[in-house]
């Protein structure tokens, strides 16, 4: 059964209808096969991003004058939720792409915005967000990738790790050190994929989310003109963190969709599967498990939508975004674990997607700030220090 959604506008409702159609007709028939292939090979579902881009789904929250759709987060995130309930890598791929546009959209000069945004938001372009390094994950301020001045250009050298879409993206929103001043010594650059000196590691062999290829991005004296530095020199860190406040909402929405997909599967199975001569759902012990799953999905959705509404209203939302990410991703882990339980032995096999949901849920507690880091953010905001 489709999720009952309260949408603030008619076009929001029409958009959700379109997204459901694309998810059912284009994503569902492909997801199992592509996820299986991408687990072992270099396969990457570039064509689904092209398709979603043609329908305008790759640029929803950005300004219409640059090719976006000017949609509030309240609607954009529900689109991500719908997509993720069918194919997590598709929903999160859009979330990552949206994040890669954030620095230009929020801190680019009018010239940079006019030059870069129509290209980034065209729907034909896919971005990657190169922030983490092997030795600088939660502690990103300790990054060592360096951008050295060379006349009016920069030369970037270093290695980024765990970068989604690496090797398939058209550009890399890159954070690199321009001085040794810790978190105040980092700057943001837009690096096109065809830049000489840019190369990629082998795809990481992961637990799940195979459709989201993750590799190292290796910069060997990659030349970037000054005009591709976004924001002032040394202002990269606040830009990265502000982008992640919004990005976290994307993860929260994706995790909610994943949990919803697992709940739908488990509920359907529970009324069909019979043991002891009756549907397993007629055992209160199992029905209550499903009830708790539904409650977890509902609270996940409520928490991300609350943060989204704050954001749309122009209010501070960082703490609420961190709460939403924590609640929604923990809910996804719990609900997908219980979905495997409801399906029993069948849930542990690849005949049903429960085991895939379970594997995909884990990463949502890790990336864009581990859930420990979310607690750090929430604690600081709550304690005022």
């Amino acid at each position: 059964m489709p999720v009952e959604r309260l949408l603030p506008t008619d076009e929001g409702a029409d958009l959700i209808a379109l997204v459901r159609e694309i998810a059912e007709k284009e994503l569902r028939p492909r997801v199992d096969q592509v996820e299986a292939a991408a687990a072992k090979t270099d396969a990457f579902p570039r064509e689904i991003f092209t398709l979603m881009g043609a329908s305008g789904l790759m640029s929803l929250p950005y300004a219409e004058e640059f090719g976006g759709a000017g949609q509030p987060y309240e609607i954009y995130l529900q689109v991500l939720e719908e997509l993720s309930s069918v194919w997590m890598a598709a929903g999160l791929g859009i979330s990552v792409h949206t994040l890669t546009c954030y620095p230009v959209a929020s801190a680019g000069t009018p010239e940079q915005q006019a030059e870069l945004l129509p290209w980034m938001l065209s729907g034909e372009t896919l971005g990657a967000y190169a922030l983490s390094e092997a030795q600088a994950g939660s502690d990103v301020a300790s990054m060592t990738t360096r951008a050295r001045r060379d006349g009016s250009d920069y030369l970037i050298s270093g290695t980024k790790s765990w970068i989604s879409h690496a090797g398939h993206a058209d550009y890399y929103t890159t954070f690199a050190r321009t001085s040794d001043d810790g978190g105040r010594g980092i700057s943001c650059f837009i690096v096109p994929a065809d830049s000489p000196g840019l190369s990629f590691g082998e795809p990481e062999r992961k637990m799940g989310l195979h459709g989201d290829t993750v590799r190292q991005v290796i910069y060997d004296e990659v030349r970037v003109p000054e005009g591709r530095r976004i924001g002032a020199e040394g202002h990269g860190m606040p830009l990265a963190l502000a982008g992640l406040d919004s990005g976290r909402l994307g993860i929260a929405a994706g995790a909610t969709g994943l949990a919803q997909g697992a709940l739908d599967l488990a509920a359907k199975y529970a009324v069909e599967r019979e043991q002891f001569g009756r549907p397993i759902a007629s055992n209160q012990g199992l029905a209550f498990l499903i009830a708790d799953m539904a409650a977890a999905v509902g609270s996940a959705r409520a928490s991300y939508l609350y943060a989204a509404r704050l954001r749309d209203a122009g209010r501070p939302f960082g703490k609420e975004a961190a709460i939403a990410k924590l609640i929604a991703t923990d809910a996804a882990m719990k609900v997908t674990t219980d979905a495997v339980q409801v399906l029993g032995g069948a849930g542990y096999t690849q005949d049903f997607p429960a085991e895939r949901y379970f594997r995909e849920a884990k990463v949502t507690q890790i990336f864009e700030g581990t859930n420990q880091i979310q607690r750090l953010v929430i604690a600081r905001a709550t304690l005022g220090r």
């Binding site: 958009l15 379109l18 305008g56």
Partner: protein, 260 residues
């Protein structure tokens, strides 16, 4: 080139479809409906032709209030304007009445160069409305096109049969019905959704079309549905355990169903 596309609002084939017990019609109220998938091909073909030159695409539908959604979807895909024919008295109409209403509407829209329809609806699946409509409009009927080209004052189609493919030409204006082989219908885009909100849609009643209530609906129908039965749920398959004799058991099964 002015093109009219006839589209139908049908119950979602994914949903649990049923009949209205009181008058044995398809229940269109309780089930979510949508633009018939077979009509999406007609809309797509019209858009392609219009985009290749100058032209305007008008979509027309007959149906209850919710049928406006079928028009909206076509407008979101890119059609220019819509007409929704809606009247309580239309309920229970058969193909004769449907073709009458469409013909009247198309005359009111103004003589188009081309009328495009799907090959059948996905609910009634009679597939006779295109032929009846062409007859009423006095247009050449060129049906089941799996390829369509417009050149100058004529159309050429390919019709694929079981044993041969025919190439058929007709002079414009003409009516063409298209199959699901003809193209790959586009999805709307968000821009299309926004644009559709500003496109004109007119709602016409029987009076607007000058059609008498007695000519349509159950009263005007040439056919009468005496009974409807929901297809019984599919029975569970038969599982044969292979104890060395699986092959012959399979053959016995096929023979019992007269397949071999």
């Amino acid at each position: 080139m002015n093109i009219v596309v006839c589209v139908k609002y049908v119950p979602d084939a994914q949903a649990d479809r049923g009949f209205d017990e009181s008058d044995l019609t398809t229940n269109r109220e309780s089930v979510d409906g949508l633009l018939s998938e077979l009509d999406e091909y007609a809309v797509e073909e019209a858009l392609k032709i219009a985009e290749a030159g100058e032209g305007e695409v008008t979509v027309v539908t007959i149906g209850p209030d919710k049928a406006a959604d079928a028009v909206k979807k076509a407008l979101q895909m890119g059609a220019d304007k819509g007409v929704h024919i809606s009247d309580e008295a239309i309920r229970g109409s058969d193909a004769f009445a449907t073709s009458l209403l469409l013909a009247k509407a198309i005359e009111k829209i103004g003589a188009p160069d081309l009328v495009i329809t799907g090959m059948a609806s996905t609910d009634g699946t009679m597939g006779v409305v295109p032929a009846m409509l062409a007859e009423r409009l006095g247009l050449p009927q060129v049906t089941f096109a799996s390829e369509l080209t417009v050149d100058g004052d004529g159309v050429t189609i390919r019709r694929d049969g079981d044993t041969a493919s025919e190439t058929i030409i007709a002079k414009l204006p003409a009516l063409v019905s298209v199959t699901d082989q003809i193209n790959e219908p586009r999805y709307p885009s968000f821009k299309g959704i926004m644009a559709a909100k500003k496109k004109p849609v007119e709602t016409w009643s029987l009076a607007d079309l000058g059609v008498d209530a007695g000519a349509v609906g159950a009263a005007g129908a040439y056919t009468k549905v005496l009974s409807v039965t929901k297809r019984p749920p599919r029975e569970q398959g038969q599982i044969v355990t292979d104890e060395g004799d699986g092959g012959s058991k399979l053959a016995d099964f096929l023979a019992s169903r007269k397949f071999i």
